[in-house]
């Protein structure tokens, strides 16, 4: 399977992980996603997506960085895998092609 199918929400989460300046883990990703989309999203939805992306091979994770406020529990830091990068690039390309293909004049607010 050359190209993985990515849902809309999955794409956003993947992009957020990619865009995150520091190390990305559950809480930061959740907050960024809400901020970027302006939607109220449950944390479980973000976690489920992250794990699914990891299963699909677009993300990889390492455990680390336990703090007292987490009750001594470690964070799961997510990073993009090569597959993840390629998937985002593919999507970007498809979209760019489609944007280019729009005939002039068709794309106007009425």
């Amino acid at each position: 399977m050359r190209r993985a199918f990515l849902g809309e929400f999955e794409e956003i989460v993947l992009l957020v992980v990619a865009a995150c300046p520091s190390e990305a883990y559950g809480v930061t990703i959740w907050e960024d996603v809400q901020q970027q989309t302006g939607r109220s999203i449950t944390m479980s939805a973000v976690h489920a997506t992250l794990y699914r992306l990891e299963e699909k091979g677009f993300l990889s994770s390492v455990m680390g960085g336990a703090t007292a406020e987490r009750g001594g529990r470690r964070k799961r830091f997510f990073t993009l895998t090569n597959a993840g990068v390629r998937a985002l690039q593919d999507i970007q390309e498809v979209r760019a092609r489609l944007w280019q293909a729009i005939p002039p004049g068709k794309f106007q607010l009425t």
Partner: protein
């Protein structure tokens, strides 16, 4: 106080979330919560936390498997599976009949042997425990020390004085019984038989718990001339056990003057239990025996004395008190004995528990007490039983593992459809228990069948009903469980560990070089060849003992006992006997073993065996005279002045020139004798004793007790008829019994014969079980290499080369077992042979012979299968897929 998220929500998460996700999810939730606590009121933060946590209860995050495995929904033992296990077990057993039979038969023989031995040992250790007061009953024993305090010896016998004196002087001794064996002649209708009888104190039936069928235990032995019979004796004498008040005529066998006296039956006792050291047919009051009234002599010992202690007495204190009584009472006598006989030894009395007698070789149950036994027999028998059981278990393990290749597929399928390892272990253990159960049942049948023979060999009267004893049943059950576990656990562990992928793709190889199976076979055959060597050695020692030249001629020699055979009687007997041409001669001799001391070389004391004979004795037995001459009627003074001694006597005395030396019987009015002859040493004692100094006399004061009669070869019937007729005519009131001397001699080696039988029995069984195990392994190995053999044959291998190929593996193992067995056998048998002063040397031939036997049996077993595999048509094996 710092706010914390609601615990129930946490619990929920911990219970339901996939374990590997739990940590970071919960950590993230905590992190958000702790931030929110700073922003909003804690109650709200908690609500938010709970809500967020509940969101995780979606299928995505849930555990795929319940936390505690499958157990909740599928118990380890469900009825359906159980039914399946049973069905499969029976099918595999039925499909592999040879295998099943080998396992069941091998195991049942092993179990049967173990059961028999358990019965035997239980009986051995249960001796004398049936008495009500068993724990309080002791036997008075005597230990002697040299003047310097070095232990010299010990003995279980006492005299007449100890019982009454100790009872009087030691308050903790409640009562005592003196128990003395004797022989009486007994009138049974017109016949006179010589019967062993016992004289015992009145308290006999109080102290010991021998139940009486008729009569009162307290008064039975009170009146003189009363007698207690066993039920068997009563039936023999009167035809009924209800013999109370009937009259029995008895007479002292050893005293020709004593007349037959009437005795009234005062009680009839039940037969003494088979595990009793005291077994009697006739018991009479102690004082009815002449010579039992002297209760002063501390220094002669001739009977057993038992005492009953008060419960809770301190044994050491009682013994100390007994010795104080002895020291006080015997002071005069000690002085007298020291002066007269030069006795310097110290004597100390002690108590031996009644239950200790049976298995104590140092203080055995003797002098009227019976059945004393050597604990060695129990140990060796238990060891052999353990060997046999072990070998049977090894068969089981080996065969199950070897055969498991065929079941690898079944195991694979079971695993693929979800069978856990524990279930497989359970299944295979269950199968092994099923087999053990079958073997156990068969073993019970076997024991029942073999018991009569075993009883004969072991001199016991055991019965399977002995089993109904809580401890023995427990022992048997644990034997069963242990066997099942021993035989089944390892195979179960190995089989359940198979990798299903490998087995199902038929890529499965039996892992490794199978060292376990090999070493188990080596162990089996080591045990078997050890026992073969033992059997061979014991047998040749036995043959040596029974065929060794004794130094005299015991062929065609008959002995007849006649107590107090006087000189004229002997002369008359001889004259009447030699009338018959079948009788070659007769010599008279004292009965039993007499030993005494005399002084030689002035003051040196010498101990020797003291034989009273007549002139005919030495020539008739063909005992060579080395120096000097035999007694002769030409020298009338021989009987009062001359003695003959043997070589050992001369050697002990250190004489260069023995003829004419003087032997001084100083305690007999200083009687002095001159040595007139020296005979060659001959084995007058059984061969397990060394030849000791021996002295022959014709002293008129010593009475003869038996006649040696030499008959001509081949005239046994005629001679015996004549001897009996003459004896009955001359001595109508003496019991007549004859023995052939050579048979009598052979009987001395009963113990050796017993060892031989035990070893033979062990060796045959171990070899048999090992062989059937090897047979099973060979069968399976031939099956496994079916194709290989086919290919080899197609490529031109001969039958013999294939047989060699298949057998050599096993023969190598059997050969290897000798390395283990030989040194152990050599050492153990050397130790055993050291018990005999006259013994064979261990020869290499015995070992080679044992090796030959073991190899031959193994070869025979293995080649049977190997030949079958080798001659089979290769087309068949190669076509089959």
């Amino acid at each position: 106080m710092k706010a914390a998220p609601p615990r129930w929500a946490d619990r929920l998460l911990e219970l339901f979330l996939e374990p590997h996700l739990l940590e970071d999810v919960q950590g993230d939730l905590y992190e958000v919560f702790s931030r929110r606590v700073g922003e909003v009121e804690p109650g709200r933060a908690r609500r938010e936390y709970a809500l967020a946590a509940l969101n995780y209860l979606s299928p995505f995050f849930l555990r795929r498997k319940p936390k505690y495995e499958l157990q909740a929904s599928q118990p380890l033992l469900s009825l359906t599976m159980l039914r399946n296990y049973l069905k499969i077990a029976f099918r595999t057993l039925a499909h592999n009949k040879a295998y099943s039979i080998i396992n069941v038969v091998g195991l049942s023989i092993g179990l049967g042997a173990a059961m028999l031995i358990l019965l035997y040992t239980k009986d051995e250790v249960s001796y004398d425990r049936f008495h009500r007061n068993t724990d309080q009953i002791y036997r008075i024993v005597l230990r002697t020390y040299t003047a310097a305090g070095v232990p010299e010896g010990q003995g279980g016998n006492t005299g007449a004085v100890q019982g009454p004196k100790f009872k009087a002087g030691v308050p903790d001794i409640r009562s005592f019984v003196r128990y003395r064996e004797h022989r009486n002649d007994l009138k049974l209708g017109n016949e006179i038989v010589s019967q062993s009888v016992f004289y015992a104190d009145t308290s006999f039936f109080n102290l010991f718990s021998f139940p009486l069928i008729h009569g009162n235990p307290v008064t039975a032995l009170q009146k003189p001339q009363s007698v207690v019979l066993s039920e068997e004796m009563a039936a023999k004498a009167f035809g009924t056990t209800d013999a109370l008040g009937k009259i029995l005529f008895l007479k002292d066998s050893y005293n020709s003057e004593s007349p037959f006296k009437p005795y009234t039956v005062t009680a009839v006792a039940r037969k003494a239990p088979q595990n009793s050291s005291i077994k009697f047919d006739i018991v009479m009051p102690y004082y009815d025996k002449e010579g039992n009234n002297d209760e002063t002599d501390w220094f002669s010992t001739f009977q057993n004395t038992f005492v009953l202690l008060r419960p809770g007495s301190d044994l050491r204190a009682v013994e100390a008190r007994m010795n104080r009584v002895y020291q006080a009472d015997a002071r005069e006598q000690m002085k007298m004995v020291a002066e007269k006989y030069g006795l310097t030894q110290k004597r100390v009395y002690a108590l031996q528990p009644l239950t200790d007698m049976h298995l104590n070789p140092d203080l055995p149950a003797d002098n009227g007490l019976v059945d004393n036994s050597n604990p060695m027999f129990s140990y060796i028998l238990s060891g052999i039983a353990l060997f046999i059981l072990l070998i049977a278990c090894i068969n089981f393990v080996n065969l199950t593992i070897a055969r498991s290749l065929k079941r690898a597929k079944e195991i694979g399928v079971r695993k693929v459809v979800g069978g856990g390892r524990s279930q497989l272990i359970l299944q295979f253990l269950g199968e092994s228990y099923l087999l053990s159960f079958g073997a156990f049942a068969l073993a019970l049948v076997l024991v029942q069948l073999v018991l009569p023979t075993f009883n004969q060999v072991s001199n016991k009267a055991l019965a399977l009903s002995y089993l109904f004893d809580f401890r023995l049943v427990t022992a048997y059950l644990s034997l069963f469980f242990l066997t099942g576990l021993l035989a089944g656990f390892y195979p179960a562990l190995v089989l359940s560990g198979f990798n299903p992928v490998e087995t199902l793709y038929s890529r499965f190889r039996f892992s490794g070089k199978n060292y376990l199976q090999k070493s188990l076979v080596v162990l089996q055959f080591s045990l078997a060849s050890f026992l073969i060597i033992a059997t061979l050695t014991v047998t040749s020692q036995f043959n040596y003992l029974t065929s060794k030249d004794l130094g005299y001629d015991d062929r065609n020699l008959i002995t007849v006992v006649k107590s107090n055979l006087t000189r004229p009687e002997a002369k008359l007997l001889r004259e009447q006997l030699v009338n018959n041409p079948a009788i070659a001669g007769m010599a008279a001799k004292n009965q039993g073993r007499w030993g005494t001391v005399a002084k030689i070389n002035g003051e040196t004391q010498i101990e020797f065996t003291y034989e009273t004979v007549d002139e005919a004795y030495l020539p008739m037995l063909k005992i060579p005279i080395l120096k000097g001459r035999n007694f002769s009627p030409d020298f009338p003074s021989d009987s009062s002045q001359s003695v003959i001694v043997n070589e050992s006597f001369v050697k002990k005395a250190g004489w260069k020139n023995p003829i004419g030396q003087q032997v001084n019987f100083w305690y007999n009015n200083n009687e002095k004798y001159r040595i007139i002859g020296v005979v060659k040493d001959y084995h007058f004692l059984p061969l397990n004793e060394e030849i000791r100094p021996q002295l022959f006399t014709m002293r008129p004061g010593n009475s003869f007790g038996m006649a040696y009669i030499k008959i001509k070869p081949g005239t046994e019937t005629a001679s015996l008829n004549h001897i009996e007729a003459v004896y009955k005519k001359l001595f109508p009131i003496n019991p007549y019994a004859y023995k052939f001397k050579d048979e009598d001699n052979r009987q001395s080696y009963e113990a050796v014969e017993k060892w031989r039988q035990i070893m033979l029995f062990g060796a045959v069984l171990t070899i048999f079980i090992s062989a059937i195990g090897l047979f099973g392994l060979a069968t399976l190995s031939a099956e496994r290499r079916f194709k290989e053999i086919g290919i080899r044959k197609v490529l031109g291998a001969s039958v013999s080369s294939i047989v060699r190929l298949l057998s050599s593996d096993f023969l190598k193992l059997v050969g290897g077992s000798f390395v283990l067995a030989f040194p152990v056998a050599w050492y153990a048998l050397n130790r055993w042979l050291e018990n005999f002063p006259y013994r064979i040397d261990q020869s290499a031939w015995t070992f080679l012979g044992a090796a030959g036997i073991a190899l031959l049996i193994a070869l025979f077993t293995v080649s049977f299968q190997a030949v079958r595999a080798a001659v089979s048509n290769p087309v068949k094996s190669l076509k089959a897929e």
